[in-house]
Symmetry: C2
Subunit: 379 residues, 2 copies
Amino acid sequence: MFRYELLDRVGKARLGRLETPHGTVETPAFMPVGTCASVKGVAPDRLRAAGVQIVLANTYHLLLRPGPETVAALGGLHRVMAWDRPILTDSGGYQVFSLAHLRQLDEEGVTFQSHVDGSPVRLTPAEAVRVQRQLGADVIMQLDECPPAGADRDHVAAAVERSALWAARCRDAWQAADGLSAQAKPQALFGIQQGGTDAKLRAESARKLVQLDLPGYAVGGLSVGEGHEAMCGVLDAVDELLPADRPRYLMGVGEPRDILAAVARGIDMFDCVLPTRNGRNAQAFTWSGRVRLRNARWREDARPLDEACDCYCCRNYSRGVLRHLFAAREMLGPTLVSVHNLHFFAELMRRVRASLADGTFADRSTAWLAAMYAADGQP
Amino acid sequence: MFRYELLDRVGKARLGRLETPHGTVETPAFMPVGTCASVKGVAPDRLRAAGVQIVLANTYHLLLRPGPETVAALGGLHRVMAWDRPILTDSGGYQVFSLAHLRQLDEEGVTFQSHVDGSPVRLTPAEAVRVQRQLGADVIMQLDECPPAGADRDHVAAAVERSALWAARCRDAWQAADGLSAQAKPQALFGIQQGGTDAKLRAESARKLVQLDLPGYAVGGLSVGEGHEAMCGVLDAVDELLPADRPRYLMGVGEPRDILAAVARGIDMFDCVLPTRNGRNAQAFTWSGRVRLRNARWREDARPLDEACDCYCCRNYSRGVLRHLFAAREMLGPTLVSVHNLHFFAELMRRVRASLADGTFADRSTAWLAAMYAADGQP
């Protein structure tokens, strides 16, 4: 029920196809984030119209509210999200280590305090798999330990060890959960590489994960503040460390510049809150740079964000109207710019795939970056 | 370009049709409110899908932000609202008297302080017409003085006098604005009856307005806290006070019980924030009463708000999911329940018109009210 097909390579960059029980994802792909089972402010028919093929939801948030039993009682995550296409859930690990209070870590798992009702919550590899089985996404992630940027080498090395141990335990729980073979299971389990920006630790982490023969591999522990160059340094080695016949997912990325650099280094999947978070903050992505809609220069501008964009926002609203909606604190402003930004990211990935197919990726990538970042020196 | 046709009468109740430059409105009709040129949280394609035929926008808010010149520069109110069907703007009078600070009233007009930038704003009858011409709605309203509920008789009598004087001045400004006859003008001007709950003042107010031979008449100064019975008392006289060949608009109503009582007494048009405001507060309208979605009883309820409703919310989301979206403070919750409520109000008016057409209005009206209000004794 889960199959990755590598269709073409251009250098290290890969054109592929991921088949899941809820349909096919063309890769490289970007996954919008629906933290609490909702892509903030954007109804699923708008996601579909944007050409979104897969979305991500956060196990950490759904574990605490409404709880996996409630999601299951309501028909599972696809019904809850009103989304019949592929879904990926993370394991909760990243949020436990970045958000949770009163965290206590041991070899078996991690205990933390619920931000919803203050109750203690225990997450172990087996529990992370159990919860994600109840949620019912197409792709589920191992529980890992994600150290903060700037953690010392011993801390990062310990996180690599622990994450590898937990990957094995997640695989065991996943394998034991039903009598099905890895290919026949309704959910694919991905392992997560850690190792910070240390090449040896990254290699060791990858080696241990690959031994587990998982359906896919993620690169974790990046986009935590290490910067573009350091991220590229880690990604330079990904293609040789991970098997060519499995999808590769760079967690938490994001920025178009990072996406293009990662595609060039062999990454297939991405997720980030950037299109919706920036949309809520009145910042729109366009091919000629970002548009900050609160700026007074747009007051009487009757042009859409992008003349060539066919999203619902650009077909119906001008920059001047969007500026007014933000000034008046109308909910429609955040929704419309989020819709536009999600279209932009889906279109970026369509152009990436098309340029990989016709061999123009490197040149086009350079031109896109120049046009996108030159205008205002934006990161 | 503006024409009202009375198609049928059932007692005092009227089935009609209002033709405007942006299309036809079947009456009795309910107008969702887009205060700042946006029906809060609801994109216009959802309004269209609900069967909404006309929306209202508030001149007071648009005068202060973004300003009528900016609306005009952005292509007019229809472009700004991304709505190519009929629009009605109020005159700003009601908000000046209920919201504005440092209000100073004289015979010529009213001066108040902008809540946006603190600047003084002057509104006169001629200015209200000028601003509404710049906005460009299909139906515009006279500037009136709306006294609060409980105002003494002298205050209400003075407001009747002043509102009648201002109605004449608005008509003069409207007539002088172009060389067109009343029928050929792109905007129809409605007068507003005042008079509180005093039958004599109401009759005097109507008599003065009718002398002006305006394209339509509104009943103002109700739904300000006087209660259902007092409102019905005023409306009992409307049919004999206002000419049969002009549309009648009851401002700020609202509550389904009030709408049905007003239709029975000869009202054709309504507006209210109820569907969207209650939607944002997790309260859904159904034919069997209101559903309070924050209630724990809906936690694992996989049924939609209304099995028979074909709105986007009911086709895609269960009560349990909606409850979760509100608990998690996701923007999609308010949007979805607002969409459902707007469908409910549009469907209520469709059923009202159908029952007027087949002569079952009185019986059905009684049955709807029993089912809607019996369940929980809700007003």
